[in-house]
């Protein structure tokens, strides 16, 4: 087990006052709250902060931790010495309302234990808490959103055994990805989260849909965008060109005098849904290189014969 430096985690000095620790926690909690933060590992960081604060905010736990931590550095191999907490008095078993204390590290548990909070509620009878909701992101391909798919997802679930130890169990679920899902949409699987405590119900599992980036298409909501390279004469004279779509190749008519950046819509060829998305083709005019005498001659001819000033609108 590795020693965790809670001061370092929270970025506070070892001599910080309780007020300073509280302020540091508030600041970090806002920064890393998984509902607010865009940092990729916000959830992990937020939990680490929570654990560090759980110890440092409580003068009794902090004193015990300071006593013990004097000779350790973060990451160093750590075993709590027997009877290390003798002489310190902890008021209560103290997790307060944290039904998800299982989220704390082994390091924390070896020092301050776990459980306890179920018995602590005393005469009012058993303690009930709804199980935690789990959140997971699943990456799907554009084709999965168009045709539907099923995915196998793996979750780490904390479990408490008869001795009160916490283990993580790997749980595998097969989940249907219904066709028509959009980027960022959430799928709720009721009762597939963490088990509750006492009579508390099971939490839910929320899956957030994210798309693997596609090398051709951009997806916005249910609409799909494709940048389509066209030759100058195809855009100028008009033509019929082949366009790759996720449902196969289609032919599209380009009207004469189409400019670069012109957006054309193929209705209903986006991601299906109550309101089916559209497929947009954005024309990108691709110039042939002037790398042969023939090509150069044609460009020269256009230069002399076409009275063309592309910067006319700029007044130069």
């Amino acid at each position: 087990m590795e020693f965790r430096d809670y001061y370092e985690l929270m970025g506070v000095d070892r001599n910080a006052t309780q007020d300073e620790i509280k302020r540091a926690y508030r600041k970090l909690a806002r920064k890393y709250h998984p509902d607010i933060s865009k940092e990729p590992d916000a959830e992990k960081k937020f939990k680490e902060m929570g654990e560090a604060y759980e110890v440092l905010k409580d003068p009794e736990k902090r004193a015990a931790y300071d006593q013990l931590g004097k000779n350790y550095k973060a990451g160093q191999d750590f075993t709590p010495p027997p009877g290390w907490d003798a002489g310190f008095e902890f008021s209560g078993a103290g997790f307060g309302d944290t039904a998800d204390a299982s989220a704390f590290s082994d390091f924390f548990e070896s020092l301050f234990g776990r459980g306890g909070f179920t018995q602590q509620r005393g005469p009012t009878g058993g303690f009930h808490a709804r199980g935690q909701d789990h959140h997971a992101k699943i990456l799907i391909d554009l084709g999965d959103a168009i045709h539907g798919a099923s995915r196998t997802i793996t979750l780490q679930v904390p479990e408490v055994d008869d001795q009160g130890h916490v283990h993580t169990r790997t749980r595998t679920l097969n989940v249907n990805i219904p066709k028509g899902v959009k980027q960022g949409q959430q799928i709720r699987l009721a009762g597939q989260g963490a088990p509750g405590i006492g009579q508390g119900g099971t939490g839910d599992l929320y899956l957030e849909i994210a798309f693997n980036p596609h090398n051709l298409y951009r997806v916005e909501g249910r609409d799909i965008y494709l940048d389509l390279p066209v030759a100058p004469w195809e855009a100028a004279l008009g033509s019929t060109v082949k366009v790759p779509t996720p449902n196969g190749i289609v032919e599209m008519k380009i009207p004469a005098d189409s400019g670069s950046g012109k957006k054309m819509r193929l209705k209903g060829r986006g991601i299906p849904g109550k309101i089916t998305g559209d497929f947009y083709v954005v024309l990108k005019i691709s110039l042939p290189q002037a790398d042969s005498d023939k090509a150069k001659a044609i460009y020269e001819q256009m230069k002399t014969e076409l009275n063309f000033n592309p910067r006319r609108n700029l007044g130069v």
Binding site: A29, H33, D35, I36, V175, R188, L189, A190
Partner: protein, 105 residues
């Protein structure tokens, strides 16, 4: 041949098409209906349409996500309901701006 698990779960997509009554929403979030009513009064979630009668309130799937977010923000950061209404609106706006930025890239 390896045996593959045959049981496939199907979830509910939380969007404008998934509809919850006041009761369903409070059960799904494990809160009292009074709590949801409080969130409606604060403008954090809004019933769809023009229903004045609470028995006929209909909430979209996104409301469920907003209620859960509200619960977490209250518990983890100690933000009050007015503050949460503001935070959620601003986060939506940031999301829209990010979307526009992505489009311009």
């Amino acid at each position: 041949m390896t045996r593959t698990p045959t049981h496939v779960l199907t979830g509910l997509i939380l969007d404008e098409d998934s509809i919850f009554t006041l009761q369903e929403l409070s059960v799904s979030c494990a809160v009292e209906t009074e709590y949801i009513i409080e969130l409606v009064e604060e403008g954090i979630v809004e019933p769809m349409g023009q229903q004045r009668d609470q028995q006929h309130w209909a909430f979209s799937g996104q409301s469920l996500l907003r209620v859960r977010k509200t619960q977490r923000l209250q518990q983890d950061l100690g933000v009050n309901l007015a503050g949460i209404a503001l935070v959620l609106d601003m986060m939506d706006e940031i999301e829209q701006l990010r979307e526009r930025l992505r489009r311009l890239d």
